[in-house]
Symmetry: C3
Subunit: 336 residues, 3 copies
């Protein structure tokens, strides 16, 4: 079991200790139930009473409290929590080289030990960096490179010819490198355009359950470093997404679109094909981005407008059918 | 082959026999083609002529008909049909204990015989109740409990630490216990928050193809008894959904939301994070639920309003661009 | 390596040669980097300068150019490109009969040699036509027929009792024949209605990643010849989709709906249940089709109206919250 002093935890999170920094902590705990070898978290004022009564050995907090726990004072409790939680619950990593006897690994595959290849995984003529874990039933096609400390959950499929960086996490059902949706019209029919390009996922990308990143028609579909994409998203062929962007569940990005760095997309948003979105644009959930966005800011809705404008538009639409008196006095219900 | 008298079927569905209750029935049949050992169904008046001419041995009907078939009179033909169909077509159930030689089962797994483990399935240190069928390529992580008579279709992935009740059906590609989408911001980057919680699926839950239920950050994501969720849905971390709720395909529920019992969600609906929806709320397809809903009723749209208000709003919006004369006289086309 | 004269390529695409038709071409190339044994593509005027300077041996173009490359003049460069690309990059096809030793194939399966069955695939009592490739981890249930030259990517699941034509492509994670979402209400609960029907996919259908086609309750869910459906789509039970229809990513079609031939659906569109859409109807992305559509044409939006009406409605909605001066002068941003 991991074990750290409060002082070491404070150093990890850049916090200040109030109390005995030598106290030893072995894990996270709930303020209600934790004992003296656990650290709890005070996210806001609602937790102050719990903190006052807690038997936890330490707490992370942004304001000094009345409590017998040792306190680590930090500016951002959520960030500090993430760091401490990662310390006590590090992500899976291959420590001992291990290839399950049921796995089918191409003799020409280059595996930088240690890697873990799970049962029934199929690994083509590709390269895997040290620390990478390939779980049950994963299928990795030829000519793929995966960096160090990758994590591929059961059922992930990489078609092949993909370049995947270090510390990339692909959740169950993720598909990388599938054919883009490209057809040429011949009369009233459609002829498939061979999809010959590739996919690049830079370091620290994480893709949620079932998310698909199609290979480019020619060239590359790419997702920038540290970008996080939630479940059930679709990134079409030839898209480019910048670094540090976040996309919540169910977003759909059509082909050849370029999205900048540090963008945020609320869930179920749709971005049209062949458009450009600049860096630092933020979109409320369910936004429809049909034209270029070239100024950072907060956008929302369909038509896409500034966030405060969208909220006003929703209000105006509601007023078209909800009697004014009721709208004023009714308890909040649904969006309005 | 299953075989039952009309009288026995009538008892099963709480119906009244008109004719010879001793007639033996071996299965369902179409009124046009069925022979005398089959039972057909008269859902509404459009079937009356078929029923008059049928050679089927029996019919389920809500009104007495002119037919030579034995009639079972019931109030709700759809419900009676479901019961009779389940009799003749019971769902798959493990009858003989059988572990495919290619399956990889942890020696510490507790399997209550009979269970069926299909080819290439991977079963961790978990507990499976009698009658449960685990099909090809399913992956079940450690510390999971699955009750009796479960049905896991090919490719299902359970990450681990899930509690799954009796008679739960998970269709192909379902993922249970995947990481919630949780990050803390550090400067312009995002640090993953370890997802340490679990998932509870109560008895008789059914999840459609590709639906994902993320594990909680801490605590539990839970889905109540008999709740049915269609294909391609997303239930984010820390959500709670009550019993007997129904959610059609493509619904997305963001994190930490609580949905009550007996709710109905039309397809492609989106429910925002951190909100509460009371029991017995019904939402038309494509609804956007951005605020708490605390009164049972029929809601629809975006902005979410009462159903009749939404239909009126659609009409008003249409009138803003469709000339009145045409709107009155044009054949119905698309929504208006 | 494939090798063809420019004259042969011109014949393939129905084009006219300008220059030496005897020149030999071995593959596609980028105008910037290709050598004399490659063919490049001039899609529009932006490529004219590149074409003038290219060292490629040949170019496909719709207007005669100043270039030393041999030119193939065609009316539709995209279509010609598709044909040439398919020549040099034919889709995978089983050439040598090969069943991976880890595959589990029912002894009663009828395999018309040559077929390829990949590692860990599970093939029930079904029939596969010559040329078909079944990749890693695919699961095919009993009583399924798959025609010639099929291509099933890793992780595809066919529940069984499906009829799949020739040259059908199913991408990773596709599920065919899953239960429709059918329940009968009993009191406040729901009783599953057994889904006993089947799925028919006609010749040359292609289904994208994770798309699910549910089996019919009774009867058939069917998708017409040459119809292409992108990633993450949902085709519910008892739907019928005509031939040569195209559906972009994330579309949801509810149960018992009939869609005609040669329709086009933009991504994320939703089609309600129990409705009819005629042939040759085209829908912009995100359309909501809630009523029958019985006239060919271009539709868009929610409420669904004619395309130009929807664009006007978006403009009017925008004008409700965006000051007129700004709307006129601001750089285009998002949809408006």
């Amino acid at each position: 079991m991991m074990d750290a002093t409060v002082a070491a935890l404070a150093e990890l999170v850049g916090g200040r200790v109030v109390g005995d920094g030598a106290r030893r902590i072995v894990g996270l705990g709930d303020l209600r139930t934790a004992g003296p070898d656990r650290i709890g978290f005070v996210r806001n004022v609602n937790y102050h009473a719990l903190a006052a009564a807690t038997r936890a050995g330490a707490v992370l907090t942004s304001t000094e409290l009345a409590t017998e726990a040792v306190q680590i004072l930090v500016r951002d409790v959520d960030l500090a929590y993430a760091k401490v939680a990662n310390l006590f619950h590090p992500r899976p990593r291959a420590a001992v080289h291990s290839i399950h006897p049921t796995a089918v690994v191409d003799p020409a595959a280059e595996l930088e030990a240690p890697v873990v290849i799970g049962p029934h995984a199929v690994v083509g003529r590709c390269r895997l960096g040290a620390g990478t874990v390939v779980m049950a039933g994963v299928s990795i096609g030829d000519d793929t490179t995966i960096g160090r400390d990758g994590l591929l959950y059961p059922g992930v499929v990489v078609y092949g010819a993909a370049r995947i960086g270090d510390r990339v996490i692909l959740h169950a059902g993720v598909v990388v490198g599938s054919d883009g949706f490209g057809y040429a019209r011949e009369g009233t029919s459609w002829i498939k355009v061979p999809q010959l390009g590739t996919v690049v996922l830079e370091d620290d990308v994480e893709l949620g359950v079932g998310t698909a990143v199609d290979r480019a028609t020619l060239g590359t579909t790419s997702i920038g470093a540290r970008t996080k994409i939630d479940n059930h998203c679709h990134i079409a062929h030839n898209c480019t997404i910048g670094a540090d962007t976040v996309m919540a569940a169910g977003c759909m990005v059509a082909g050849s679109t370029r999205i900048g760095a540090r963008c945020v997309f609320g869930g179920s948003s749709v971005v049209n094909g062949h458009i450009q979105v600049c860096d630092d644009a933020r979109f409320g959930g369910d936004s429809r981005v049909l034209k270029d966005v070239d100024k950072p800011g907060e956008y929302w809705g369909y038509p896409l407008v500034e966030k405060r404008q969208w909220l006003r538009l929703l209000q105006k639409l509601r007023a078209m059918v909800v009697p004014a008196a009721r709208a004023d006095t009714a308890p909040p219900r649904g969006d309005g």
